[in-house]
């Protein structure tokens, strides 16, 4: 096992799947010679040619709509959206089309495809290069929503997403691309979609997070451990379908729940996690549920102090945990 960046996991997954299965194609803005603006697809066009690694004209509805057509005709497209913030022009194609094709045709048609997009802040991206958009898609049955937090998961989950028979939205925290390093198993290892990952067991409270926040939660748990607080950290990994069992089981062990995400507080993923607990494990709770999230402002400001204030971080997570335990 070699130690790699998260973005290496992404690139390797695409590389291996394109080598394994010639139906797999990649399309998106600048994915060819440029290798993607983050270099996720570097080298792919040289390996597989510009018919399978396609520099798309600028237009997200087109990219997703064309990918749907490809999937309907025997290909397995990976559609890259350059930044998650720019997925909105494709909202109709994703929500009205990709998500509903199997259902509306009574299983006559389906669209095996992946939509990849870098999301999240902390990179001086301002309002439109920092957004977290995952919550929108959690409300859309027919889609799957996956967010890896480690290089191994990035690779294993993306391989699973490419092999999935249904449309998968795959969001990659852009700050974690080169920040997060870890061991990546060699060879053809997939990680199942739909299962949360136990990052660290604990008994005083459960912290639920995903993406970069899962890493931060782990760091917060280290700090808390030194103070004698035992925090369980669960990386949700798949937001749709949500691993409700893992959530409820954890709360049954720790009796306190803290949910962390960077997306806006209201109607972020934390709402569904909290509601799941309030419905399914209410009697287990020793304290109110706590959501630590991006504030309810339209998006993350560009200037340094306000950007920092927007982002949850290990210290804020640790502090929220302490407060929750004090209740």
């Amino acid at each position: 096992m070699a130690v790699k960046n998260l973005i290496d996991g992404i690139r390797e997954a695409m590389h291996e799947e394109m080598a394994r299965d010639e139906r797999v194609v990649l399309l998106g803005e600048d994915v060819g010679k440029r290798g993607g603006v983050f270099r996720a697809s570097e080298g792919l066009v040289d390996a597989y040619g510009d018919k399978r690694v396609i520099d798309a004209p600028l237009g997200e509805s087109g990219i997703v709509g064309v990918a749907i057509g490809m999937a309907l005709n025997g290909l397995v497209p990976i559609a890259e959206i350059q930044f998650a913030d720019f997925i909105h022009p494709a909202f109709n194609q994703i929500v009205s089309e990709a998500a509903k094709i199997r259902y509306r045709s009574d299983n006559d048609f389906h669209v095996p495809m992946v939509i990849r997009a870098p999301f999240g802040g902390g990179v001086h991206g301002g309002l439109y290069h920092s957004q977290s958009v995952e919550a929108f898609f959690m409300h859309v049955p027919g889609l799957k929503v996956v967010i890896p937090s480690t290089p191994a998961d990035a690779k294993g989950l993306l391989k699973a997403a490419i092999r999935d028979e249904d449309p998968v939205l795959f969001f990659e925290h852009k700050r974690s691309y080169r920040l997060v390093r870890g061991e990546v198993p060699d060879g053809d290892v997939t990680v199942p979609i739909g299962k949360a990952r136990m990052v660290r067991e604990g008994k005083d409270l459960s912290i639920f997070a995903y993406g970069l926040m899962a890493l931060y939660a782990e760091q917060a748990a280290d700090t808390l451990a030194k103070e004698g607080i035992s925090a369980e950290v669960i990386d949700l990994r798949t937001l749709l379908p949500l691993d409700r069992e893992a959530i409820l089981a954890s709360v049954a062990r720790t009796h306190r729940a803290l949910i962390v995400h960077e997306a806006n507080y209201t109607m972020g993923a934390g709402a569904e996690v909290a509601a799941t607990i309030a419905e399914g494990a209410l009697y287990e709770l020793d304290a109110p549920i706590r959501r630590l999230a991006g504030p309810d402002i339209p998006a993350m400001p560009f200037n340094t102090p306000q950007e920092e204030h927007f982002m949850p971080n290990p210290e804020k997570i640790a502090q929220a945990a302490r407060e929750l335990l004090a209740l």
Partner: protein
Amino acid sequence: MAKTKVSPKATSSLGPNEVRKMYRNMLLARTIDERMWTLNRAGKAPFVIPCRGQEAAQVGWAAGLRPTDYFLPYYRDIGVMVTLGYTARQAFLSLLGKAEDVTSGGRQMPGHYGWRERHVITGSSPVTTQVLHAVGIAYASQLRGEDTVSAASLGEGSTSQGDFHEALNWASIYKLPVLFVVENNGYAISSPQSKEMAVQDTAERALGYGMAGVTVDGTDFFASYEATVQAAERARRGDGPTLLEFKMYRLLPHSSDDDDRTYRSREEVDAWKDRDPIQRMQNHVLEAGIMTAEEVDALRVEVQAEVDDAIAYAEAAPYPPVEDMFTHVYAD
């Protein structure tokens, strides 16, 4: 490539048997349409979306392609479906949302076609999304070196959507084997063409993409058929996509929920009845000696009988079981 007009002759490439078959398809589409309205007005079908006035173009463009091609018809395309083998029974099973409905098992509203066996790709209600799917389908065909064509139809009003532009742009950049079939019936619900575009012919929209654009008399079956055959040949040759515009008129209101008296005059509607495509085709088969008056009458009776049977069958058919509504959200 410049915009061209195709003139309505060239009946030669179809033999008399085939022409008879095409006439039957048109007549069946019309009869299904008529009887759907009767059911609706009797309170037995919640929603009908008519094809009346568009049958020549619909049967024409569907017949101009091969069964191995891909079809992405829009909600009015009863004529396309019938040409691809859709039966009256299937039409009424779908109308009433019965379990046996081949398009969606009773899940979708009528007019939302899809039939894997016949290469009819499942469609939705938001207009114009399907044109991008046709482009992706054509891309896959081209990548594999196949000579199949994909064809998506839509109304002229729907060409105002952003997806239309993105689809034509992709298709022209990659010279994809795809046809964009605009069934121009003059209105988008109540909106006349002049409120949807500043050009006279929707085919002019092709110019901004360096793509072939063709305007055809869509009340003429033969013109519609031939224009499609030619466009499909261009596509198969690798000469890229074509925007095919069929001009005609929506003889009925937009749907069973609409009342077109609020926005267009009876004189205008009546004037178009003279160019009823069924009448034109009937005149042709009679004048060309392909059928006798007796044969035409017999065909009418036969088609009516098929539709009578279909209605009885569909009305008696069961709805899907309630629990089935939870299936096929994802692969099992």
